[in-house]
């Protein structure tokens, strides 16, 4: 199928015959595509922020765990050579922050009140770097300091349940590997995340405190934040190569499989909605192009009579569609680009819609959601507009190439 300059002029000028229809077609493609771009910008931004929220709420982008942890979720499992492993992880160039932790199930009691809790032993300075639950929450008293022994930081809701205040001494019972150990812990800080559910789960001590209570505590996990989320797979692979003993590196998806599946579901739903919008737009274009082809039956018959081949007629109609697609892409870039830019710079304040920023699985969400904005918009605008328009025009183009010339000329 070869088309010369006159055929190209013919295709381009044909769009000027019904300027209003052409502009409406371009606007239809543009608005539909803009909606798709806005949805993609929102989806991409929200997805990225959700991952960051999950990572910074404790799961990390990556986590070093015992190889049996994924199957058993047993918090008494301990890493092999955790301190060497922590240093090896910290030295990796793709790492923003990392922190080792050990967890133990326990019971906290004060007076005649008690509450079950998962007690988490942390390296306070590192934990402050990796956990937004600490760094972004209001704190009464102070957070733990490295090597501080006998102190505990609990959530505000837990404090209320136990009816305790700062500097009160809690009676803590911790389940070790083989035994139950007890100790008195002084409340050094009370954290208010803004979420009652999340506050109920917070009970932090230093690794040194844990060791003093149950002996050699070790670490059960190393939570890792990456400099670039997009490098997750490559960093996971390279860190995996550094692991020794029973240690292994898992991603946030393995740590929070339910959240991961939920997010995938959200993305799939958003993509489905986007596909529906694009399909509706494409059907509109197909209808408009089919009308244009049927209105020009005689012209296509004349083209055929002059010796133009079916493939060339198809090509000409598709070139008209291509021009509509490019026009639509420019409109989409203008509308969708502006909206995406607004989303990326101003964001949407979720405080208008929700009061509690705790997501499922104790994730502390951001109050603002920012969209994604970048050169990808051009690529998407062009590809969505052009592909949707050209695909929608395949049938009209085929129809144009199969018009019976004698019949069309007879009935003109």
């Amino acid at each position: 199928m070869k088309l010369g300059t006159v055929a190209l002029k013919y295709a381009a000028r044909s769009l000027t015959r019904h300027t209003r229809r052409t502009v409406i077609s371009m606007a239809g493609v543009g608005v539909g595509c803009a909606m798709a771009l806005i949805a993609l910008s929102w989806m991409s931004g929200a997805f990225e922020m959700q991952i960051r929220a999950i990572a910074e709420s404790g799961a990390g982008h990556l986590m070093v765990v015992h190889r049996d942890w994924e199957k058993t979720r047993e918090n008494t499992l301990r890493l092999t050579d955790w301190q060497e492993t922590l240093e090896a992880v910290r030295a990796h160039p793709g790492i923003r922050a990392c922190s080792a932790r050990a967890r133990a199930n326990g019971l906290l009691a004060f007076g005649n009140r008690s509450a079950g809790a998962q007690i988490m032993a942390v390296l306070p300075e590192d934990e402050f770097e990796v956990s937004r639950i600490i760094s972004r929450s209001r704190m009464e008293g102070h957070y733990l300091e490295d090597e501080e022994i006998g102190a505990v930081v609990i959530g505000k809701a837990l404090a209320r349940r136990l009816n305790v205040e700062l500097d009160d001494d809690l009676y803590a019972s911790l389940t070790g590997k083989d035994d139950i150990h007890s100790a008195m812990l002084r409340i050094a800080g009370i954290i208010d995340t803004g979420s009652q559910d999340l506050d109920l789960t917070i009970c932090h001590v230093t690794v040194a405190t844990m060791e003093s209570i149950i002996g050699a505590a070790g670490a059960g996990e190393i939570s890792i934040l990456l400099k670039e989320q997009s490098e997750l797979a490559s960093v996971q692979k390279s860190l995996g190569a550094l692991m020794t003993g029973d240690n292994t590196v898992v991603s946030w998806r393995e740590v929070q499989p339910a959240l991961s599946a939920g997010m995938d579901g959200d993305v799939a739903l958003m993509r489905l909605l986007t596909a529906i919008v694009i399909t509706v737009v494409a059907l509109g274009i197909a209808s408009a192009q089919l009308t244009a082809v049927l209105e020009r039956r005689t012209e296509f018959a004349v083209l055929s009579a002059l010796g133009m081949k079916g493939s060339q007629i198809t090509g000409m109609v598709l070139i008209e569609s291509l021009i509509i697609g490019i026009g639509g892409a420019l409109i989409a870039l203008t509308l969708g680009g502006l909206a995406a830019w607004y989303l990326a710079t101003e964001g949407i304040n979720l405080a208008y819609f929700v009061e509690d920023f705790t997501g499922p699985s104790d994730i502390l969400l951001d109050p603002y959601i920012y969209g994604s904005f970048g050169p990808w918009l051009i690529k998407y605008a062009l590809s969505i507009s052009i592909i949707a328009t050209v695909v929608a025009s395949l049938y009209p183009a085929w129809k144009a190439s199969h018009i019976a010339p004698a019949e069309a000329l007879r009935t003109q």
């Binding site: 010369g4 006159v6 055929a7 055929s304 009579a305 002059l306 010796g307 060339q312 019976a404 000329l409």
Partner: protein
């Protein structure tokens, strides 16, 4: 001076029948037509409405399929040709002139003429050649006008230019003067007669117009889809000698 007829047969129709099927109704447009057209002919097909004139032109122009019989155009059996082969035949050997001109309204006169040359794959020369044809037919000053900016007569002359620009062996004209006044019809017929005589282009017209009949050297009359008369005018019969 009339064009010299040669022995070369451009069209050979034998018992050509065309039936249109509309639902369960069969309409016979042509009933066993026999016709031979020699190179250099200037032939008018006349007859009342519905006699099958346009149908016969469409069949010769490979725009439609025969129902029965055989039809050879330039030595090829068109009923056996694929769509692509028919398109090639039309592109390289046939020219069409339509009653309603059917120029492309978004292209200038020159671009309309150039279009066929472009389809033929003429590259660098097509602009010059299109201009030459327009000049030769006295249409140079309209080269950059689009059809809506021209009169009916001017448009039909551009249509002739488009039909002959690629130097086809055979031009098929369906009621070419039907929408023209006497003066423009005369100019058009002179132009086509000139092309016939000087470039030996063969013309077949379907027409009701007595002016066309007067110009034709051979007149085939169709009635009810059959050849009722086939008359070669005296002087041209001598020329055909």
């Amino acid at each position: 001076m009339a064009a010299v007829l040669t022995d070369e047969t451009l069209v050979h129709a034998k018992q050509v029948t065309k039936v249109y099927h509309t639902g369960e109704v069969d309409t016979y447009a042509l009933r066993g037509i026999d016709l031979e057209v020699k190179a250099g002919d200037f032939l008018a097909i006349v007859g009342p409405s519905g006699s099958g004139k346009t149908t016969l032109l469409n069949l010769i122009g490979a725009l439609d399929n025969i129902t029965d019989g055989t039809l050879e155009v330039l030595g090829s059996d068109v009923s056996r040709m694929s769509r692509r082969q028919r398109a090639d035949l039309r592109l390289h050997a046939l020219g069409f002139i339509f009653q309603a001109y059917n120029l492309f309204p978004v292209l200038t006169a020159q671009e309309n003429v150039q279009f066929v040359l472009e389809l033929q794959g003429v590259n660098n020369e097509r602009g010059r050649r299109a201009r030459e044809v327009l000049d030769r037919l006295g249409l140079g000053e309209y080269a950059n006008r689009r059809p809506p900016q021209m009169s009916g007569g001017q448009q039909q002359r551009v249509a002739v230019a488009r039909a002959v620009a690629s130097k086809p062996r055979l031009v098929l004209a369906d009621e070419p003067t039907a929408n023209l006044d006497g003066e423009n019809a005369g100019i058009l017929l002179d132009m086509m007669r000139d092309l016939n005589e000087n470039q030996h282009t063969t013309f077949i017209f379907s027409t009701h117009d007595p002016r066309v009949v007067a110009y034709a050297r051979r007149v085939v009359t169709l009635v009810d889809g059959q050849v009722a008369k086939d008359i070669v005018k005296e002087s041209d019969a001598h020329d055909a000698g």
